[in-house]
C-alpha cells in the first residue's frame, strides 16, 4: 500500500485532532436536533428505550435516593442542633434535594448505568458492522439508534430525578420522624415551604439537559467506536467519564443562570 505524504498539521497532531473531534461532535449534535424533528419518529422504539433506561434504573435510584435522604439528614442534624434549629431540617433537606442533589445524583447514576450501556451497545453494533447493515438496507441508523435513545434519556432522566427527590425526602422523613417524631404532613409542609415553582422548574429543566447530555455522549462515543472489541470498552468508558464531567459543568452553569433569573 503506497503512502502519500501530502497532509500537514495546522498546529500539531494532538491539537488538530482535538479541534477535529469538537467539530465532529458538534455536527453530531446538530444532526440529532435535525433528525429529531423529522418523521418517522419510531415512537415504539422510544417507549422501549424509556422502559430500558427508566424502569430498569428504578431499583438503583430508589436505594441511592433513600440512603442519600437518611445520610444527608443525619449529617446535617448536629450542625443545626448547635443553634437549636433542628426544626429547619426538613426545609434544609427540601432545598438541598430538590434544587441540587436529586437531579445531580440521578444524572450521575444514569451516566454510569445508562451512558456506558448505550456506548457499549452502539459501539458493539458499530464494530460488528450492524450499523452499516442498517444503512445498506435503506434504514437511517442515526434516527433509529441515536435519536430514539437520546429522546428516551431526555424523558427518563427528569422523571427519575423527581422520583429520586421524592424517595430521598422519604428517607429523610424516616430519620426525622425517628428523632423528632415529626408527622409526615408537617415534614412535607416544612420541606416545601421554602421551595418555589422556579426551583422545581429549574430542577426538571436541568434534568432534561443532563438526559440529553448522557444520551448524546453515549451515542456519540458508541456510534464512532473503532478498533474492534477494545474500541467498545473504550467507548463505554469514555461515555461515562465525559458525561459525568459535562453534567458537573452544566450543573455549575445552570445554577449560575438560575441565580441571575432569581435576581432579575
Amino acid at each position: 500500500m503506497q503512502k502519500t505524504n501530502l497532509k500537514k498539521y495546522i498546529f500539531s497532531k494532538g491539537v488538530d485532532q482535538y479541534f477535529a473531534d469538537v467539530y465532529k461532535a458538534s455536527l453530531f449534535i446538530v444532526r440529532f436536533f435535525k433528525e429529531a424533528v423529522r418523521p418517522p419518529f419510531h415512537i415504539r422504539e422510544i417507549i422501549n428505550h424509556c422502559f430500558e433506561i427508566g424502569l430498569k434504573s428504578l431499583p438503583l435510584i430508589t436505594l441511592t435516593g433513600f440512603i442519600i435522604g437518611i445520610v444527608f439528614t443525619k449529617q446535617s442534624r448536629p450542625a443545626l442542633e448547635d443553634f437549636g434549629a433542628t426544626a429547619l431540617l426538613p426545609s434544609l433537606i427540601g432545598i438541598a434535594i430538590v434544587k441540587a442533589m436529586g437531579a445531580l445524583v440521578t444524572a450521575l447514576i444514569c451516566a454510569g448505568k445508562v451512558g456506558s450501556g448505550i456506548g457499549a451497545e452502539l459501539g458493539s453494533m458499530k464494530v460488528t458492522e450492524q450499523i452499516e447493515a442498517m444503512e445498506v438496507s435503506a434504514i437511517n441508523p442515526f434516527k433509529y439508534l441515536v435519536v430514539t435513545r437520546v429522546i428516551a434519556t431526555a424523558i427518563s432522566v427528569p422523571v427519575l430525578a423527581l422520583y429520586c427527590s421524592l424517595v430521598a425526602m422519604l428517607g429523610s422523613y424516616v430519620n426525622v420522624n425517628a428523632n423528632e417524631a415529626t408527622s409526615f404532613i408537617t415534614f412535607i409542609q416544612n420541606a416545601f415551604s421554602t421551595i418555589q415553582f422556579l426551583d422545581i422548574f429549574t430542577s426538571v429543566t436541568k434534568s432534561i439537559l443532563f438526559g440529553l447530555t448522557i444520551g448524546l455522549v453515549g451515542c456519540y462515543k458508541g456510534y464512532n467506536a473503532t478498533q474492534g472489541t477494545r474500541g467498545v470498552g473504550k467507548a463505554a468508558n469514555q461515555a461515562v467519564v465525559l458525561a459525568m464531567f459535562l453534567v458537573f459543568i452544566e450543573e455549575m452553569i445552570v445554577v449560575q443562570v438560575y441565580n441571575w433569573i432569581r435576581l432579575y
Binding site: 500500500m1 503506497q2 503512502k3 502519500t4 505524504n5 501530502l6 497532509k7 451497545e121 458493539s124 453494533m125 460488528t128 458492522e129 450492524q130 452499516e132 447493515a133 444503512e135 445498506v136 438496507s137 435503506a138 434504514i139 437511517n140 433509529y144
Partner: protein
C-alpha cells in the same frame, strides 16, 4: 453457471466504475479502478487482504464516497444522489457482510422482518410472514426462525445474512468474503447458495473473496486487485494462465480445492 459466457459492450451494464480513487488519510487504497458488471453476471474480485476489495463494494453501495472517479449503479451515479435517492437505490442492492452483521438483539424472524417493516410499510403481517418464510426456505434454514443469532453457527449466520438481503428482492448482490472463516464443506454450501440465488432471483453479483474455489465455482469473470489497481479481468482460466508474477504468486499460495 456458464463459464464460457463472455460479456460484450452491447449487454446491459448494472455497475460501471471509471477512474475510481479512494484514500484514507495518507493511505491510497484504490488508485484508478475501472470495472463493468453486466446483468446476470457474477464477478469475483480477488486480491490479498488489505488490497481494497471491501472498500470497492462499500463505494458501490455508497457507504464510502470516492475521492475521484465515477461509480454508476443501475444508471445512477452513487456519489451524486441525495439521501432519499440513495436509499431507493440501496433497496435494489443486497449487501452480505463478511461478519454477517446480524442484529444480535433481535431474533432471526425479527432480523428478517426488520428491513421489510422499515421499508415496505404497506405490507400486512401475513405478507411479511410469507416473505420471511420464502427467504428462509431459499437459504434452507426454515427451522431457525425463532432462534437468536448467537445460537447459530458461522455458516448459518452467513445464510441468514444473505436471506436478510434477499427479502428486499435486490437486483444486485454484493458479497463480502462469503466463505471466510468457514470449513470447506460449509464453504461449498455457501457457493451453491450464491449460484442458487443468482438463478432464483436473477441477480448480478460482485463477490469479494480470496477463496479461489468460491471464485471458480460461482463467477463468470474474475478481477485481480493488487496495490489498488486491477491487474487482470477475465474468465477464471484466462486469469489463472496469466504470466503476471503477482497473479502467479497469488494463485500459487491459494490452494484450489
Amino acid at each position: 453457471m456458464n463459464p464460457n459466457n463472455y460479456y460484450t459492450k452491447e449487454q446491459e451494464k448494472v455497475i460501471s466504475i471509471t477512474g475510481l480513487y479512494k484514500s484514507f488519510h495518507e493511505l491510497a487504497v484504490l488508485k484508478g479502478i475501472d470495472l463493468e458488471l453486466f446483468k446476470g453476471e457474477n464477478m469475483a474480485v480477488l486480491g490479498k487482504s488489505g488490497s481494497g476489495k471491501s472498500v470497492l463494494i462499500k463505494l458501490i453501495v455508497g457507504l464510502l464516497k470516492p475521492d475521484k472517479g465515477e461509480v454508476i449503479v443501475l444508471n445512477k451515479q452513487v456519489d451524486k444522489l441525495n439521501p432519499q435517492e440513495l436509499d431507493a437505490l440501496r433497496l435494489r442492492i443486497g449487501f452480505s457482510f463478511q461478519s454477517s452483521a446480524l442484529y444480535d438483539s433481535m431474533s432471526i424472524r425479527q432480523n428478517l422482518e426488520f428491513p421489510l417493516k422499515m421499508n415496505r410499510k404497506n405490507l400486512g403481517k401475513k405478507e411479511i410472514d410469507n416473505a420471511v418464510e420464502e427467504v428462509l426456505d431459499s437459504v434452507g434454514l426454515k427451522d431457525k426462525l425463532n432462534q437468536m443469532p448467537a445460537d447459530l453457527s458461522g455458516g448459518q449466520r452467513k445464510r441468514i445474512g444473505i436471506a436478510r438481503t434477499l427479502i428486499l428482492k435486490p437486483e444486485i448482490m454484493l458479497y463480502d468474503e462469503p466463505t471466510s472463516g468457514l470449513d470447506p464443506i460449509t464453504s461449498i454450501e455457501i457457493n451453491e447458495l450464491i449460484n442458487e440465488v443468482q438463478q432464483q432471483y436473477n441477480t448480478s453479483s460482485i463477490i469479494i473473496t480470496h477463496d479461489l474455489t468460491c471464485a471458480k465455482e460461482t463467477c463468470n469473470r474474475i478481477a485481480m486487485l493488487f496495490d489498488g489497481k486491477f491487474l487482470k479481468v477475465g474468465m477464471f482460466d484466462e486469469v489463472f494462465d496469466s504470466e503476471d508474477e503477482q497473479i502467479q504468486s497469488f494463485f500459487k499460495y491459494n490452494f484450489i480445492q
